[in-house]
Symmetry: C2
Subunit: 196 residues, 2 copies
């Protein structure tokens, strides 16, 4: 890793923390320059535009989600254990990521859902990847005989996504100590209803 | 309704549309003054501060949610019909409210969940009201014999909230035409599993 990469990584980390505090709309080259005590022209040289900066932050968060939630789950045995690992990894992500500002993919979804462009495209792609990956894990759980053949993988992916969003909002807004238990009960009910 | 009220209503409507477009952080007295071609000092006379303006917009949206989603549901017969009306009203709210910007209560939840203050207090209160109102409707459905006595009203409120959030995100981010059907299937599964 060269010196340029280190700087880039340091800038991206600061940009991610800034976005988690003020949202993507507040993630301007000027605000980031102030945060890092760097010149705006130096940051422009790195990113070129506010939109390119926003996009890199979002894409690096999506990549981090894949590394921290998806990849560990894929290393678990196929079937229900893999679904459980995915779910638990996601709850942990909600609790810790990326800072006290909450999941940046959720933030980006809310900010860009009405603004066609590369940011909305990236959010769409992330949501599609998320839902199809869960559906694939469900399909495998059917194939290995853990879940019933008549379970609809896309429906179960939607259901799981809803549970995790409920957890994110209840946990973050009201700091409800029961959020984890509620989400786990919902997940166990979902699995129980689909079990072979 | 006096002339002052009409002006106030017109200002609040414009402020709500602005917030749905740019978020609460972008809802400044200056931006709103520009939107309305009014003087900043005139708006300050109305609201006093950016925070007071944000709070009034959020509170008027919460009141509108109660009017458009809760009150029509309460007029339905107790039990499952009332839960269905609540759920369907909420899906309609997701689809239309308040403009193409999506549900402002969701937006405020994401923006303020890490910023203690009156805005976070209002979001917390709205979420508590929401969850306890659903739980109360579930409790009534148990009392009238539509749902089993061992159903946990608070768990079912969490489950319903998750389904509606999943619907909001899938519908808005990917404009998925199946979002309504997925949410309805999830709701029907939830009711079926709890039916007496």
């Amino acid at each position: 890793m060269g010196r340029g990469d280190l700087t880039r990584e340091r800038i991206l980390t600061a940009a991610t923390l800034l976005a988690s505090r003020v949202g993507f709309d507040g993630l301007t080259i000027g605000a980031l320059a102030e945060e890092l005590s760097m010149s705006k022209s130096g940051l422009f040289a790195h990113f070129g535009s506010k939109e390119a900066l926003q996009l890199q932050v979002l894409e690096s968060e999506i990549a981090r989600f894949e590394r921290e939630v998806f990849h560990p789950a894929i290393r678990q045995p196929r079937g229900i254990p893999r679904l459980e690992a995915l779910f638990e990894g996601w709850l942990a992500w909600n609790a810790h990521s990326p800072s006290r500002g909450g999941c940046l993919i959720v933030t980006a979804s809310v900010e860009f859902d009405d603004q066609p462009g590369p940011l909305l495209d990236a959010v769409k792609e992330a949501q599609t990847l998320l839902l199809t990956s869960i559906a694939r894990a469900v399909k495998i759980a059917i194939d290995v005989g853990h879940l019933r053949p008549d379970v609809d993988p896309d429906q179960m992916a939607f259901d799981l996504y809803g549970i995790v969003l409920g957890h994110h909002f209840v946990r973050r807004v009201r700091n409800d100590p029961k959020a984890d238990a509620r989400a786990r009960a919902a997940f166990q009910n979902l699995i129980a209803a689909a079990r072979a």
